[in-house]
Subunit: 210 residues, 2 copies
């Protein structure tokens, strides 16, 4: 499948593009800034310019699947949490419906399914992610929502714990998150489901495989 | 009808309680802070404590209708826009469904139906209001959404322009907004509709009356 990576320049997004290059799929890296293009061209990955706040519909031409991995990050205000994390994702879902995309994999966040339990400073972010996840789930698209625990920059291990609900918070390397998102693109048992994700004991290729 | 006023201590909310006292309905003023109670008791209005961020389900006992007029206001960050204006309203809708409330009138904002056209500093707020309005509209509740123009503190005139879409921005006194919300509670032709609202030429009692 040709897979549009929204948020390709993010810390997880870069891993996703690389993992897709190593897979049977073909990435299209969507970035906002022309300066962000050369790094992906060096990898041999197709790139497309798109801005979640302004417009990115053109990025969808010829696309079979979408991985949404964009986020406004910790350095901007909560206004951007609404405009990027929530509304950018909602627009991405709308475009996917419009273009008949076959698969939509959402990078969410641990506890986005229970934002009321989140810590004070994070609760608004969890609600924004929650709204986007709910919008995707009721969109009619073939979706998978992945809610990873605390992200680290450690090298990937390829060993994870993926379950519809994991009670204990845990960490996971961004590289493993990216590999999981790419893996789940073509796992039938992941379709129309939501999962928590942390580091674990199971080899990724065995996850949901039985 | 017994009408729960959520955000009774706000600038529009105070007018709503007074207008309800003068109407055939009975207000229940929901406020967050015990210090806000005496002003409503002096009016003879029933009050109930409830916090949109913590919990307010108890406020719904015996309630027939809800007017949602709460807002985080301009002095707090956009995190509160998510937690109060968006998520508070969504919880208010959920509770109304749970308690079988017959009417839900939402105080929204001009342009909340087209947030992408809003000015930069306001767009995130308009999206938050939009999400809340959309949630209400798809809730199955008997709703009315009212999107007033720029609010002023001028005395009310009782003369308005209410229409599903008004192209020109305009002002309207908060007192007239409050009177309109109360009026629309019992106007059958306002049910399951959304309206823009500014000052105008029509006497309120003639609006949607023919």
């Amino acid at each position: 499948m040709k897979v549009l990576v929204i948020g390709a320049n993010g810390k997880v997004g870069k891993h996703i593009v690389k993992k897709l290059m190593e897979s049977s799929h073909t990435p299209v890296a969507m970035v906002r800034d022309p300066d962000q293009v050369p790094q992906f061209e060096e990898l041999g990955a197709e790139t497309v310019l798109g801005d979640l706040e302004k417009g990115f519909e053109e990025a969808y031409y010829g696309v079979d699947a979408v991985i949404f991995a964009a986020g406004s990050g910790p350095d901007t205000g909560a206004d951007k949490t609404i405009l990027i994390d929530q509304e950018g994702a909602i627009k991405a879902v709308d475009h996917a419906k419009h273009f008949g995309v076959q698969r939509f994999v959402m990078l969410s966040s641990m506890a986005a399914d229970r934002p009321e339990q989140g810590p004070d400073g994070l609760r608004h972010y969890l609600y924004a992610k929650h709204r986007a996840d709910e919008y995707l789930k009721s969109s009619g698209l073939n979706y998978t929502v992945v809610r990873p625990g605390m992200l680290t920059n450690e090298p990937g291990t390829g060993k994870v714990k993926l379950d519809e609900h994991i009670n204990d918070f845990g960490e996971i390397p961004r590289e493993d998150v990216a590999e999981t998102l790419v893996y789940l693109l073509s796992v039938p048992r992941a379709e129309n489901k939501s999962f928590d994700l942390i580091s674990g004991e199971q080899q990724l290729e065995d996850v949901l495989a039985y």
